[in-house]
Subunit: 336 residues, 2 copies
DNA sequence: CCCTGGCACTCGCCGGTCCTGAGTGCCAAG
DNA sequence: CTTGGCACTCAGGACCGGCGAGTGCCAGGG
């Protein structure tokens, strides 16, 4: 149904449209690519491709433009991943190597991706639920208020204030800290909720309420609310020309953590590079595509990162960049 | 030189232009405001105002538009601060009251401001240099790497990894933590650099290098690099119509911390509401105005917050919102 | 059966022209 | 100093026509 030449035509259309942002016609196609057939033949092929829903013409007597379905086929079967130049690789390496903590890694990563791809970059912090507790710290703020600082093995540092039911002195805090650390150290955060029942056995009668208060804060605000942070960068790479309904809509979506989380979540949790195109991203972000990849050592990814751009995007390059950056970030995190 | 009526005319022009975004002519002015004179008179006044540089006409035979200088006069002498409705006040109060730590306060504040003014909101974290150390925590990461967590009296929690020169065990860490806390507790971060010389007397010979390493990280990365964070929200409120040279430029500026810091820094550090208009913000952000205010208990502000929008902005309302939010945020921080 | 050249057709874009109307500056009179 | 009158300017919208890129269809040829 779709022979090799038709696929080649589709590929050529995508490539040309991506680089020129103008509907591409049969004549210019034969000129630019060395398809050894006449424009008329191409026109016939185009008619078929259009009938199948891979391309459309914005108006009669205009060239063709790929549909989401066309891009999908292009990404899945027609294009490879374009490897980065060695200069780019080196740039990634040196840029990320200088990072001195997790926040910094994430920040640098988002900038790097934005600059590398000239698109909007999106980076998720390592998932809390897939991390383990490295240390818990309690700092007194007032008679009955503590600051809880939770440090995970992935380097995340999260803070919350805790209201404890009873007044609590310095010694009691130290003891509570020791007990909680012994209890939680090395434990996956995902498991905390289910083991909370084991706690009473480990603490004295009097400190039970306070310990419970701290644990419940951990469970409620950190685990259940599934505190996954996403940061965004390179919004200035959005060009109005690419979004018929204006940047507004996209900017709005980018400011809503929920939308971003869903977007990244829906890309699955495998470590490989994944592409979601146009309407696959939901009503709101139908004009955009997301190229993302899991990152983090091990088989199951810690979180995702990627770039968001118009569907008219240079997929091979974006995929190359996202893949490479994800690998390096995983490496950096494994080292620290 | 500028009698009362001319000022009234300027005020009317600003108000009309802000609400319609169209050059305002003499006729529509007399209609909408009850100036008891004829259009011809207004025209004469306008000619004077134009000569003085307060208004311009985009082209001959068009109405007048305020210049930056015109807005300046308007803000300084012609408009008051519009107080918020009681509903809005209550909304602020309830929205901010739910916050449970500093990050959350800042996040809520930026969203609140953006929503209240329909502009881009900008909130600085409380200045580190003006904060005092509440607690220091050291967590072992590896043989010679520690995670340093610094908690200030304003609720900021900052983290950095520290490479120490010598291997360091758990006991040594505990001791070092105690010594450092005793040494730094309650001290202003701004003073840390100058008292660093006093440290050697307080620690044993052997832990001197490690203590010095930790202190130097505090000084270098936290104080000298003047780690003032700014967060931005409501970028989707930017409307392309207001920026002739496109949103791009503004979005870029908003992504560069440096630019934002300078912008807020240049607004001084008094607690009152300040307005910077158009070209006063430098080449890059000449199309925009910033309405900002210091916040934080006490005479000298802890940091600033504000809104950024097109020069064609509803100043009285923006000033009202910024002022009120700054007051509430100060209150919230004082309580915690 | 597929490719090809030819041909008539479509229609968005570009540039020019004209017109309208809002707004102005100037002036002379009150 | 204010006012009505008046001539003038000019941006923007409507209209028009030609150009050209691109198409679909068809008949002929490998």
């Amino acid at each position: 149904m779709l022979d090799d030449r038709k696929l080649a035509v589709l590929r050529a259309i995508v490539e040309d449209f991506v680089s020129t942002n103008e509907p591409v016609g049969s004549k210019s196609l034969v000129d630019r690519h060395n398809l050894d057939v006449s424009p008329a033949t191409i026109r016939n092929d185009m008619a078929v491709l259009e009938e199948q829903g891979f391309i459309v013409q914005p108006h009669t007597s205009a060239g063709r433009v790929p549909t989401d379905q066309g891009y999908r086929l292009f990404v899945d079967r027609l294009s490879g991943i374009k490897p980065l130049s060695t200069a780019e690789r080196r740039a990634i390496e040196t840029f990320l190597a200088g990072a001195y903590d997790l926040d910094d890694v994430v920040l640098r990563t988002v900038r790097l991706l934005a600059q590398l791809t000239r698109q909007v970059a999106v980076v998720q912090y390592p998932s809390l639920t897939r991390s383990a507790v490295r240390h818990i710290e309690l700092v007194p703020l007032a008679d009955r208020r503590l600051l809880l600082v939770l440090i995970t093995d992935t380097g995340r540092v999260e803070q919350r204030t805790v209201e404890v039911p009873g007044k609590i002195g310095d010694d009691a805090i130290s003891h509570l800290r020791a007990v909680l650390n012994a209890f939680l150290d090395g434990r996956k955060l995902a498991d905390v909720a289910s083991v909370v029942a084991e706690l009473p056995a480990k603490v004295t009668q009097s400190e039970r309420p306070n310990a419970a208060a701290v644990l419940s804060v951990i469970v409620e605000t950190l685990v259940e609310r599934n505190e996954e942070r996403v940061i965004v960068g390179g919004a200035s790479n959005l060009t109005p020309a690419d979004f018929s309904r204006g940047l507004q809509e996209v900017l709005e979506a980018l400011e809503e953590q929920v939308v971003l989380m869903r977007l990244l979540g829906d890309s699955g949790d495998h470590a490989s590079v994944t592409v979601r195109i146009g309407s696959e991203n939901g009503q709101r972000l139908r004009g955009t595509s997301l190229v993302s990849s899991g990152y983090g050592a091990g088989e199951r990814a810690l979180a995702r990162l990627g770039v968001l751009g118009p569907t008219r995007m240079d997929y091979p390059t974006a995929m190359g960049a996202v893949g490479a950056v994800a690998r390096y970030v995983g490496q950096i995190l494994a080292e620290s």
